[in-house]
Symmetry: C2
Subunit: 429 residues, 2 copies
């Protein structure tokens, strides 16, 4: 079945801006609270949010095998379980409904009234209930930078790194969507030169610019997913900010990995951009530097050209661009990550989320974390307002933006916008 | 409200064995498939499984605020969300219904027919949908043994260990209940003396004897749980076998912790024994060897005297007892684990599972993993049938049993019984 929704010549009858992240060729999926306080599944074109539950009730998905309540749910998990063929049928149909050549909805004001919302009428929710969240560590530049800082340049990359798409498990319960502010966490740290650890607010709050993919039900316990089948099980992608408390991380992480340094929060962009929408932006990944084990050898282009930017905005002043990087820099791709994750038979389900790890490129202006940009605080960054930052400060807002672009279209992810609040103080009783 | 269900003098009208793990004072909660292929929530007394959905429909829980379908669900998550007061009311009521002094159900054969099942009529399911699973590392003896093997005796325990209840995130999707066989995983390993990693079946499959607790909804993002309130949010406990592939673990674990070495499977005992039922078995834990940070300082006895045993049964021969250990050996208790887990504001929800880490005691016969019992294979264990084991072999069954006991009663967990199958071979098309 062809992805007719991607037709670059298609135009919509909706009034949208030319440089939007969400042209009619994008058609992402998300979950939002409407002006009537109802949670529904929807899509977005330009600055319009579209209620797919209402569209379905009005019969616009006739002929596509969907249960009556598939879009009247709090999460996309069941829709994602329906599989790639259904996602494609629905996305193609949405493109038709909003195509300028189609007047059915355009000319039906009653229908438009219940289907269309402006962005200020809705509140985005978590798009999926995340069953399990995995974070990979797939940028060679990032792993090398971190290794150089905490060990030395010669042994920066550990011996397993070029053989294994290294990953670890993270916390699902603290993944939140854009615009949810995060309290600075408290925890134990071991200050430089101290002999005993101390307790207090983290002094080294950092972001990590990552992308994450969301899977459908993929395999049963015990059954690996072959690398060249992996994409069948990937629904789409979001941007992912893996908040980190570097001082807590340094003291706690040996020998079982980061824990409280990471699980206080991760923030995602709320619209899941489908792999179908990203199809025009496939690109080759870096050449392997070591011969890959056969279960990691793939055919075709499995990486994607996604331009990513990180901004920091102190309270009451303007944004400063901190980093411009690209998803295509990653050494390990999603297909390899999923094949590796399941080579031991680990089951992957609908709504699972797998993040890339910090995406850093070859030059300092492409580093995806403050730790690297300020080289663990040795080279503080100077902001537009003249202030400087080694790490993120209270009331700073970190904004991540991402999009793909070619001659004929732009497919974007919108943004993750997250403010760091001071430490949480319990209310007095 | 007093826990009347715990009255040690209470007897049931059901015909049960004197040494059962499930006397009328236990009343655990589980989920099972009935002879009619319906999934229901139930409890167990002796060798009877009791359908709580049926009991509720027949009006036996009248006066307790419960929704009509609370026990007609696939998991206990919603019941656990109802909170400690409700758990206690229900457990007390069940004790009354089956008390030998109460003839209401006893003399109603029609009701008995729909409420009572024998164990061979049911099939146990996962009791909860695990939102997030965390594994701690709370046995000082285990951490010391592992540290001695892989580093050296002097630096066996890392500097953070006596300050932090070290933990890390695990995989929820591969937690299964007793009697689900597990395929030996394949993966990458770096053999001793080799210069390149190899791929194949793990040669070092190990069990880890742990206990896990299950939480209710505890806190919002950003809000820590004080250590002395933590028990309010713990529903109950199960035994936990954290299957491990030691050779995969050794090659993959630096720097982000174990991943594929653990996430191929974990096995639990299917009946959740409530904290109320364990109340008579509270005991003091080990004295802290370092002064604790204030958020980890607790009052009262927060450990539990739970006797644990591990057996190995090769195919077609009898079981050999490998280890006898006890939950009370753990250095860090559940209240400290939960206070630590949330000190940074990480949210904990109904159905989350937190395992203790391998429980090893002071002497070699109390070690909770094969790695320690056979000292990484240097001292193979001799089994009853004359064969020997350094790690678990194909078609071996590992059985874990656990119970509490005092002069007046025994409260048990039943068993985890898991067979290791050869590596998975995909069916030919």
């Amino acid at each position: 079945m062809s992805i007719t929704a991607n037709d670059p010549s298609r135009k919509t009858w909706l009034d949208i801006s030319k440089d939007t992240d969400f042209p009619i060729q994008n058609i992402p999926f998300g979950v939002f609270l409407t002006r009537d306080d109802i949670i529904t599944i929807g899509t977005r074109i330009g600055d319009f949010a579209i209620d797919l539950g209402a569209l379905h009730q009005l019969g616009y998905f006739e002929g596509i095998p969907l249960t009556d309540d598939i879009f009247l749910q709090d999460t996309l998990n069941d829709f994602i379980s329906d599989g790639k063929k259904t996602w494609r049928l629905v996305r193609n149909r949405i493109a038709d409904i909003f195509d300028e050549k189609n007047e059915a909805l355009k000319n039906n004001q009653d229908h438009r009234n219940v289907v269309l919302f402006t962005l200020d009428e809705i509140e985005m929710q978590m798009p999926v209930q995340v069953g399990d969240y995995t974070d990979f560590y797939s940028s060679k530049e990032h792993a090398t930078n971190v290794g150089s800082m905490f060990r030395d340049k010669e042994t920066a990359l550990l011996p397993n790194w070029l053989h294994i798409p290294v990953g670890y498990h993270g916390r699902s319960s603290s993944i939140v969507t854009s615009h949810i502010p995060i309290h600075r966490p408290k925890g134990q740290t071991m200050p430089e030169g101290a002999s005993e650890p101390v307790f207090g607010p983290s002094k080294q709050i950092d972001f990590e610019m990552e992308m994450a993919f969301i899977t459908t039900d993929a395999n049963l316990l015990g059954e690996p997913i072959p690398v060249d089948e992996a994409e069948e099980y990937i629904f789409g992608m979001v941007m992912f900010n893996d908040w980190s408390a570097r001082d807590i991380q340094k003291w706690e992480y040996a020998p079982l990995g980061p824990f409280l340094a990471k699980n206080f929060a991760s923030s995602i962009s709320p619209w899941i951009v489908t792999m179908d929408a990203l199809e025009p932006f496939r690109t080759e990944g870096p050449k392997p530097e070591k011969e890959l084990m056969s279960y990691l050898q793939y055919t075709g282009d499995k990486s994607f050209d996604i331009k990513l930017e990180v901004y920091l905005k102190p309270e009451n002043t303007s944004e400063t661009l901190l980093s411009k990087t690209n998803y295509k820099y990653l050494y390990w791709n999603m297909s390899q990550q999923l094949a590796h994750h399941t080579i031991n038979g680990c089951p992957v389900n609908s709504g699972d989320m797998m993040a890339s790890g910090t995406i850093s490129g070859p030059t300092p202006d492409t580093y995806g974390s403050m730790l690297e940009l300020s080289w663990k605080g040795e080279k503080p960054l100077v902001l537009e307002d003249g202030s400087s930052r080694s790490f993120v400060e209270d009331n700073d807002t970190v904004i991540m933006r991402g999009h793909c672009e070619n001659e004929s279209m732009r497919i974007g992810f919108g943004e993750i916008n997250t403010k760091i609040l001071p430490v949480f103080e319990p209310k007095k009783k």
